[in-house]
């Protein structure tokens, strides 16, 4: 991933900074130009909560390029306590111990490395609530 692409999304991916439609209250994450629900372009910053539950998951055994060392890892969709959903990895758990509905919380972790000489990419993952 190029440096500018990684750097630009740090607030969203590392601090869960999202946005909210001031007209209908819909939480927009990832960001969009206009509200996904009502189409309004009146959008303000919104801090996503850091707790939620696991809506669905899979165990990735054939990882894509850049994630070879991480297999097997758990990919999932989290539903945060405010209803917002996002896709990320579930960490600090054995693949066999993951279950739909488990309570999870945000943690800042390493996502990947751009080889031995490129930059390291970090973002928010989730782990079983501690």
């Amino acid at each position: 991933m190029s440096v500018p692409r990684y750097w630009r999304e740090i607030p969203e991916r590392s601090r869960l900074e999202g946005s909210k439609c001031t007209k209908c209250g819909y939480v927009i994450y990832p960001q969009r130009a206009r509200c996904a629900k009502c189409g309004s372009d009146s959008i303000e910053p919104y801090q996503l909560p850091e707790k939620g539950k696991l809506l669905t998951f899979t165990i990735v055994r054939n990882p894509p390029r850049g994630f070879e060392k991480m297999a097997p890892f758990v990919l999932g969709i989290i539903e945060l306590v405010d209803g917002t959903r996002l896709t990320t990895q579930i960490t600090d758990v054995l693949p066999g111990e993951v279950s739909i509905g488990m309570s999870v919380e945000a943690v800042f972790r390493k996502i990947s490395e751009d080889g031995d000489s490129g930059i390291i990419q970090y973002a928010i993952k989730f782990r079983p609530t501690f």
Binding site: I10, F108, K110, I120, K125
Partner: protein
């Protein structure tokens, strides 16, 4: 040493990864007996960073715990320092990764410090100076490491992962101080007991030389000088935390200085998690704050190879009672564990070349 403005700890927090490997498991692979490590070095198992963890991620969680206890917005921090000997980049500050992730940027001073295992307390000294001079209101000092133990080397049994963040604030602005600083002493000499050259993956050490001329000379000298300056005796302290490369050294240092075993036991974590390097003494200090009572005097004495020691005397305040339950305690992280074998350990620590 004491700054012109009195300073206090406003918040503290730690993080220890959940994975553990026992000395038995390491010894099994190299055909050694674990007895020496368990019974003489007093190490049972060590904490291992997961494949997605490093000093930056450890520092971020420890810092968030400290901020939670301090009741501060990250924007109130004037400095973010990370002390480590296993920082993710050789050149690129871990401090900025942490500062950005916790939301402290952009009006903040940030840097990484290296002085082997005392890098964490150096960050603390710097924050004390910055806050105590009135330059900033709050400084965040982190000591964290994921130091590599060379396979088959004795240090492989003890090189553990984890870290602690301490937030220093001004005594006159802190509504609920956790601990007041009475004073500190730093004592350093050029003593090459343990080092790692630029292009090497693993450190080297001078074996027995790391004892008396290094660890003991510096930690005992710094502590003695501190006690003299503050006109204190070991019996004035409720708790004492020494750097813990193993269980044997801090027990012996305590004895030499005149501290009793009961004074150091609550901060002695190395049997459960190993030596956290720059995170070692500060995490022991964090464990003390997790259970100390207002009025307790605490000694914190680090040691870093190369070599030097920073010794501090703190007096615990009321804030410790209201703040300690606001974040996971060191023992909570110690109890959260999953044992792994040497194969998974090698995979996590990047010892398998793909």
């Amino acid at each position: 040493m004491k700054p012109v403005i009195d300073v206090a700890i406003s918040g503290w927090g730690s993080y220890i990864p959940m994975y553990r490997i026992t000395v038995e498991e390491i010894a099994r692979v190299w055909g050694k007996s674990p007895r020496h490590f368990r019974e003489e070095m007093l190490i049972d198992e060590k904490a291992v960073a997961g494949i997605d963890e490093d000093v930056a991620t450890i520092s971020v969680e420890a810092s968030k715990n400290a901020l939670g206890r301090a009741g501060l917005s990250p924007k109130e921090l004037g400095a973010v320092f990370v002390g480590s000997e296993s920082k993710p980049y050789a050149v690129k500050p871990t401090g900025t990764i942490v500062a950005e992730a916790i939301g402290a940027t952009p009006r903040v001073l940030s840097a990484d410090m290296e002085f082997a295992c005392k890098a964490g307390t150096e960050c603390l000294q710097c924050c004390i100076g910055l806050v105590g001079s009135g330059m900033i209101n709050y400084g965040l000092a982190i000591g964290a490491d994921t130091a590599q133990g060379a396979p088959a080397d004795p240090l492989e049994y003890s090189a553990g992962c984890g870290g602690t963040a301490l937030i220093v604030g001004r005594r006159d602005k802190e509504k609920e101080p956790v601990a007041l600083l009475e004073g500190s002493v730093s004592y350093v000499t050029d003593t090459p007991d343990f080092w790692r050259r630029q292009k090497c993956n693993y450190p080297s050490h001078a074996e027995a030389f790391t004892g008396e001329p290094a660890y003991f000379t510096h930690i005992i000298s710094a502590t003695k000088l501190l006690l003299e300056e503050l006109s204190l005796k070991p019996t004035d302290f409720k708790h004492a935390v020494f750097h813990q490369p193993n269980g044997k050294f801090p027990l012996r240092a305590a004895k030499i200085l005149g501290f009793k075993k009961e004074q150091i036991e609550h901060g002695l974590l190395v049997p459960y998690i190993g030596n956290l390097y720059a995170g070692s003494s500060v995490t022991g200090f964090s464990a003390i704050l997790d259970m100390a009572e207002p009025g307790d005097r605490v000694l914190l004495a680090s040691f870093g190879s190369g070599a030097g020691s920073d010794a501090f005397s703190f007096v615990v305040q009321d804030g410790v009672r209201t703040k300690r339950d606001m974040a996971p305690k060191v023992m909570d992280y110690i109890k959260r564990k999953q044992n792994i074998d040497y194969a998974i350990y090698s995979k996590f620590r990047g010892k398998i070349v793909l």
